[in-house]
């Protein structure tokens, strides 16, 4: 197979040595069918073993290899050399602190994940010894929102998160919405109480960048708008006599 040599600039940062990040260049002889992740592994194995980055599955499902490639947040195992120019610039995901090289600190989103209560909440017990009945029509309502691999590309793309990181952000809110509209769940109002509050869904100004970059077509922007509608409805329902205040 034919090779293609790329000039890859990688943002490096060693917190024990550097005061700020800087670029380092590598010439990488790539196979035609390589993903950028393969090029990074080549660098790690052959050129510079000190380069730090995360990856695991190499098949677009574990979500660990998200990075900025030529300014766009992408999964590097899903970004192919054949689709890139000769000069490639790789940086850690934007809007997150850089731990080291291409590794970012994800604590913030991991903590927020908990806030979304991303699990089935029941008031009545589930059916005994059998599954819930869930027609495909009900499944397909939320299916798309179960596809999130937590790669955090959407957080890198969302300017509202960049400007104010107290915003809960696209993937977490989309996940909450996924449970809200799951026919087996009964926890919607509980979640809305938290997520339709300040810092929650209202901080989204529908930039839509999250959906544009999402490698799994989750479309968090859509989930968030629907959640706003749900939130507005729930607000008035609470005001109604008999609604909880």
């Amino acid at each position: 197979m034919s090779k293609r040599t790329l000039d890859i600039e990688v943002l490096r940062y060693d917190p024990e040595q550097d005061t700020e990040p800087h670029f380092m260049s590598y010439q990488v002889p790539c196979e035609e069918d390589w993903a950028i992740l393969d090029a990074l592994n080549y660098i790690k194995e052959e050129l510079d073993t000190t380069l730090a980055f995360r990856w695991s599955c190499h098949m677009m499902v574990c979500g660990s290899c998200g990075m900025m490639v030529n300014g766009e947040p992408v999964l590097t195992c899903k970004t192919f050399v054949r689709d890139l120019p000769k000069d490639v610039r790789i940086e850690p995901l934007e809007n997150f602190p850089i731990e080291r090289d291409l590794v970012v600190v994800l604590d913030d989103v991991m903590e927020k994940l908990q806030m979304a209560k991303p699990y089935i909440i029941r008031k009545d017990p589930p059916p005994e010894n059998e599954e819930f009945n869930q027609p495909r029509s009900a499944l397909y309502k939320f299916k798309q929102y179960t596809m999130c691999v937590n790669c955090m590309c959407c957080y890198s793309a969302c300017p509202q998160y960049a400007l104010d990181s107290s915003f809960i952000g696209p993937a977490v809110l989309a996940l909450a919405h996924r449970y809200n509209i799951d026919s087996r769940d009964q926890g919607k109002s509980e979640r809305l109480d938290i997520l339709a509050d300040h810092d929650g869904v209202w901080n989204c100004s529908f930039v839509g960048a999250c959906s544009e970059v999402c490698p799994k077509n989750v479309d968090p922007a859509a989930a968030l708008q629907q959640m706003k509608i749900d939130g507005a409805k729930a607000y008035w329902l609470q005001k109604l006599p008999g609604g909880k205040s």
Binding site: D193, D197, W202, K228, A232, Y235, Q238
Partner: protein, 114 residues
């Protein structure tokens, strides 16, 4: 915690956006037509005044104008934020106040048209 009041303004913002998206291009075009020298029949004094005198006309005008105003006000609040003005509380008060005044004026004039 509870659902924030923002949900109320957001609801009006969304409704206003829809109204503005559907109707405003036509309105702008009408004024454009006026500017180009041809006044469409509907914009002649008698017709327009007549329309604004009917109840249905008043209701339509009131909702179109006030919803659009609230839409604009809410979006403006975000614009301030996006351009780096971080006094959201003050900004919000200001823009919503203007929208409220506009709403009142609309109601007042519609009444006055009789």
């Amino acid at each position: 915690m509870a659902i924030a009041k923002k949900s109320v303004v957001w609801g009006v913002f969304a409704a206003g956006g829809t109204v503005a998206a559907f109707l405003f291009p036509a309105l702008i075009a009408l004024f454009g037509l006026v500017a180009s020298g041809t006044v469409p029949e509907g914009l002649e004094y008698a017709n327009l005044h007549g329309f604004a005198s009917t109840w249905i006309g008043k209701i339509i005008l009131f909702f179109v104008i006030s919803l659009a105003l609230w839409h604009a006000a809410h979006r403006l609040r975000v614009v301030f934020h996006d351009f780096g003005v971080r006094k959201d509380k003050i900004v919000a008060k200001a823009v919503y106040l203007v929208a409220a005044i506009g709403t009142l004026l609309t109601a007042y004039y519609l009444f006055a048209i009789g």
